[in-house]
Subunit: 274 residues, 2 copies
């Protein structure tokens, strides 16, 4: 079965929510191929008409009924699509009415509030600056870090820290474990005052070797034996010091970040700071 | 009206989707205060029982019916919450059945697929590495950039680039416009071969002065006159060379990124590459 269905994520703002929920639903049908398009900033009747036109053209060339996941908030924009022959999933329409009943309040129907943030924005910017300045063992202010990720070279520390800073406003530092650190099997001295903030990252030796191979082909650094040995010693260190750690081999950045927040109990702390 | 309602985002995975849609819906009721908690990785009956216990305790202390936004996929886990006195919004249950009909297919009901990605993951990691190496005019490979953000100091280039790399897998470079560049009103020489990739960022002088003030208090750099003058000259340069640009003063990073993708038409390109 290899049919390819056209899917549109339709939004009066960025489309991020429509994409996120739509994609989650579609993963439930993983034997079907989907071609996805995002129609963002559809926030006036003319843009809505253009979006509808684009959807209709897609339908014509594909010969199948297009699927539309909508987070449009304005009823008059949703109405533009009412007569169209599309499979329509409407996140707002479905849930706003029961919410109004439960909260005994009218929805504002306003556009453009979904991602508005100010203090939180500034916090995220500060966190990004901190994280950029505390990558790979750099930086002198680990006492200000919310979390310090620990792991050997190329196990995902930097992108995870950036994600935690950008998305969660956490000051995330990271510190590389090197063969020197394994010689005496002690935690590196700069980290010792901050054990409560440490979180380890690990990965499978095979995947690590593959990643390192792309960086330094046919090096000792990228050999499976080196990878195995470094990973074994890093995990031994994590265990010796009671540092929680995570095997990220099959995880996306979102999952790594959410797992760290979950395990480290940081999510609440973050929300308290907002 | 200042009631405070307890809200739980319940998920068998990261909770990102439940949070995103739940928060979008709640912004429609902005005069009501919500206290939000994320219950992630609720992927077995014991975790479900614990989550229910936590929700019930919250209900008892708040004296109000808790609201639960669920993306739980497994019916037997959803069933744990069936008898609880909560206001229940179930994203999967609501939409999976109509989707099965439309697609004439059974949903896999499987857990843990929502954020699975492999090639896309690698693309994002590569993009992050590129972006870190091409921050603030650094880096020698602008020919490999998907986009180059242009703007004066402290107008949001770095975090926006990191977001585009992490979230969208785009190799996003950025290049600072300095007073030197304004002297002859020409585009800096290294950028001239890549005009099609350029995108400008601007901001209000007041906001910029505030941001710079935190960095270098009472400096000429942070004065409102300097900010006004630099912004005016930057925008003149954007106009002279026909470079699309964005005023980010009131935007979140998500909105900035989505607007750039929308205006630059990069979204499709990105999806094609996946």
């Amino acid at each position: 079965m290899t049919e390819k269905r056209l899917v549109y994520f339709l939004s009066d703002r960025t489309g991020i929510t429509a994409e996120a929920l739509g994609k989650s639903l579609l993963t439930q049908f993983d034997h079907i191929q989907f071609e996805r398009h995002t129609l963002a900033f559809v926030d006036n009747p003319q843009r809505a008409a253009e979006a509808l036109q684009q959807i209709r053209q897609g339908a014509q060339s594909s010969g199948q009924r297009p699927m539309v996941f909508s987070t449009l908030m304005q009823p008059e924009l949703r109405a533009v699509f009412a007569a169209a022959d599309v499979f329509w999933i409407d996140f707002f329409d479905t849930f706003i009415a029961p919410l109004e009943l439960e909260l005994n309040a009218k929805s504002s129907g306003a556009v453009g509030k979904s991602h508005a943030m100010s203090d939180a924005y500034q916090q995220r910017m500060d966190a990004v600056n901190f994280t950029l300045g505390h990558d790979d063992g750099l930086g002198q202010h680990l006492e200000l870090a919310d979390i310090i990720l620990l792991g050997i070279s190329r196990c995902g520390k930097t992108p995870t820290c950036l994600y935690l800073a950008l998305q969660n406003g956490l000051r995330a530092a990271n510190y590389p474990l090197t063969p020197d650190d394994f010689a005496d099997a002690h935690l590196p001295a700069p980290l010792r005052p901050y054990q409560a903030k440490l979180f380890g990252l690990s990965i499978s030796p095979e995947r690590l070797a593959q990643i390192r191979q792309e960086r330094q082909p046919d090096s000792d650094y990228a050999s499976i034996n080196t990878c195995r040995s470094e990973l074994r010693q890093a995990e031994a260190l994590f265990k010796k010091y009671g540092i929680a750690y995570l095997d990220i081999t099959t995880m996306s950045i979102e999952e790594i970040a959410a797992s760290i927040l979950h395990q480290a109990g940081l999510r609440l702390q973050r929300m308290d700071r907002r």
